[in-house]
């Protein structure tokens, strides 16, 4: 690209009238590209709906999509057995996959934007490790953040520890002179610290407890319930529109902190608002299904390659791709070996890594052409 030509020509174009054919064409071209991005969002929504339907229809007993559709419309249309299987067992799992995937996708996208680092996500910044430790603490010692909550103790502990870690990151961010690099390093330190504490817990655990910890950490959708779905969906309904109302400011942040401030962005306020959103999303996701490390990293990465960093498209696409990834993973986890449901955390990485590498390599090749 010859930049000298641009400036030289610009001098000659001083007297150009505004709103000429060229500028109208430029504006039209932008609108066309925005329309394409909208179409892409709707295409992913369609894929997601198909994936959820497949997720519900596939299992130890396969049902046709038509049957699933009928039972979803009218619970009793195919008898009590199908009603129970679909409404009480499979649908909660399928919807939890979508909700948790969306949460992880958005949390990863926001973290990457806020910290200006494509490797930032709840897993790499120690949030998942903190949640795992919280869960292990409840499993091994029974020590928790609340009394008399029964089986919810593990989930609550995981949630509170994850939230506390995010809030620690927030406090650090509030300290004067602490940059994004320091926050990432702090996150990595948290990751190692909680992993060490977790190992200590595992060392002192009984065989049954150890089994529970490992199972919890592998990530599983089988703990899904309508109560979790209600809580997760409510959170998304509040957090997503809030984040969408901040998309211009977040995009401005991608131009650099100083530039964003020079454009009128209240950086401190934006950081606090967004980190609170990240905290709630990440803590809830990890408390619901355990450690699922790849979705928050890959969802946003693929979204960035597809629609760039205009956060108006980047955030919803990250959410949709996160949801799609986890929904497809849920299907694969059931179909890999008939009769066995693999922990979803294993499958996300097994499917995600090759897909991720293929996308990166393809993108790198296109760029070098």
């Amino acid at each position: 690209m010859n930049s000298s030509g641009d400036i030289r020509h610009s001098q000659a174009s001083v007297s150009l009238a505004v709103g000429s054919g060229q500028s109208m064409q430029t504006a039209y071209s932008y609108q066309q590209r925005s329309a394409k991005k909208m179409k892409l969002l709707f295409a992913v929504i369609t894929l997601l709906v198909i994936s959820v339907m497949c997720d519900v229809s596939i299992g130890p007993g396969n049902f046709s999509l038509e049957t699933v559709f009928q039972v979803l419309i009218d619970k009793t249309s195919h008898g009590v057995q199908l009603e129970v299987i679909i409404w009480d067992y499979r649908l909660p799992i399928a919807i939890t996959a979508v909700i948790v995937g969306a949460m992880l996708g958005v949390a990863g996208a926001l973290m990457q934007t806020l910290l200006n680092n494509p490797l930032a996500e709840p897993f790499t910044l120690g949030v998942s490790s903190a949640a795992s430790f919280g869960a292990a603490l409840a499993i091994v010692t029974g020590i928790g953040v609340a009394a008399n909550v029964g089986s919810l103790l593990v989930t609550l502990n995981a949630f509170v520890f994850a939230l506390a870690t995010c809030l620690m990151l927030l406090l650090l961010m509030r300290l004067r002179g602490v940059g994004t690099q320091a926050i990432i390093l702090f996150g990595i330190a948290i990751f190692f610290a909680f992993n060490a504490l977790l190992a200590m817990m595992e060392y002192g655990a009984s065989e049954t407890q150890l089994q529970r910890i490992v199972f919890w950490m592998l990530g599983s959708l089988t703990r899904a319930s309508w109560m979790q779905i209600a809580w997760g969906a409510s959170l998304l309904i509040v957090v997503l529109p809030f984040c969408m109302s901040r998309t211009w400011r977040l995009t401005a942040l991608r131009l650099g902190e100083e530039t964003a401030v020079s454009m009128g962005v209240n950086l401190t306020r934006l950081r606090i608002e967004i980190l609170i959103c990240i905290s709630l999303l990440a803590a809830t996701a990890v408390a619901f299904v355990g450690t699922i490390g790849f979705v928050g990293l890959v969802g946003p990465h693929i979204a960035r390659l597809l629609v760039g960093e205009d956060q108006r498209f980047f955030i919803p696409l990250s959410a949709l791709l996160g949801a799609l990834m986890l929904s497809v993973t849920s299907i694969v986890s059931k179909t890999l070996t008939p009769g066995i449901i693999y922990p979803i955390g294993i499958i996300t990485s097994l499917i995600g890594v090759p897909v991720f590498l293929a996308i990166i390599l393809k993108h790198a090749r296109e760029r070098s052409l």
């Binding site: 641009d6 400036i7 001083v14 709103g19 071209s29 211009w248 020079s262 960035r304 960093e309």
Partner: protein, 259 residues
Amino acid sequence: MSLSIKNLTVSYGSNDVLKQLRISDLKPGSFTALLGPNAAGKSTLFKAIAGLIKAQTAEVSLNGEDVTKYTRTARARLIAYLPQSFYTSLALSVFESVLLSLKQQSSWRVKLEDTQKVADILERLNISRLADKDVSELSGGQKQLVALARILVVEPKVILLDEPTSALDLHHQLAMLTLIKELTISREIITVAALHDVNLAAKFCDHLVLLNHGEIQAEGNPSQVLDTRLLGETYQVSTSLEYSKGGDMYVDAKLLASA
């Protein structure tokens, strides 16, 4: 309409970076160069005027109105600041990055009027053909033009440019300053640019401000400020003034023997 800067003091801890600074009123269509060695306080002055940092004392007014009374966004639209920093890795198109300046408080939707404004400024700077390209794919000169488009699209009254030619070769420096001067006059903007090249400053700017250790050493037209003794003391060099056949003034500088 004029920009008035008086009694401006900025301190970092106990270190006064700007000391009771006062600059004569700057008028629309004027192109002022802010000169001074590294760490003289040039960037701090810009940030204080633009409201990016808090000044200990400041009387900055635009057309008689205290700028601190404006909201962040209103102030950003009146006084546009172009920092030195460059974005390296960014999946944002030129069009999107310029559009951002118009959209800070607006809704999710993009108005047709805004897209037309962006398209117009890109055409005005003759970078329409770069509209779909990612900003990070551009050359240094192109990035500077995009950054300029980004601050001009909001039609500010004042533009503060922190070393707008620092990443450019000689040709691009001349072209960029020519363009800024044209826009300053045609749009009646108050332009202040931090420049390192005193000769380019003298060639393009009608007003020079020489800053050192947070204090104004001199200000006025080029012949008033480009004083050999003053420049020598400020930059710690030995200088002499020369004149071209056309009457243009040039500063020739040498390192001091002891340096």
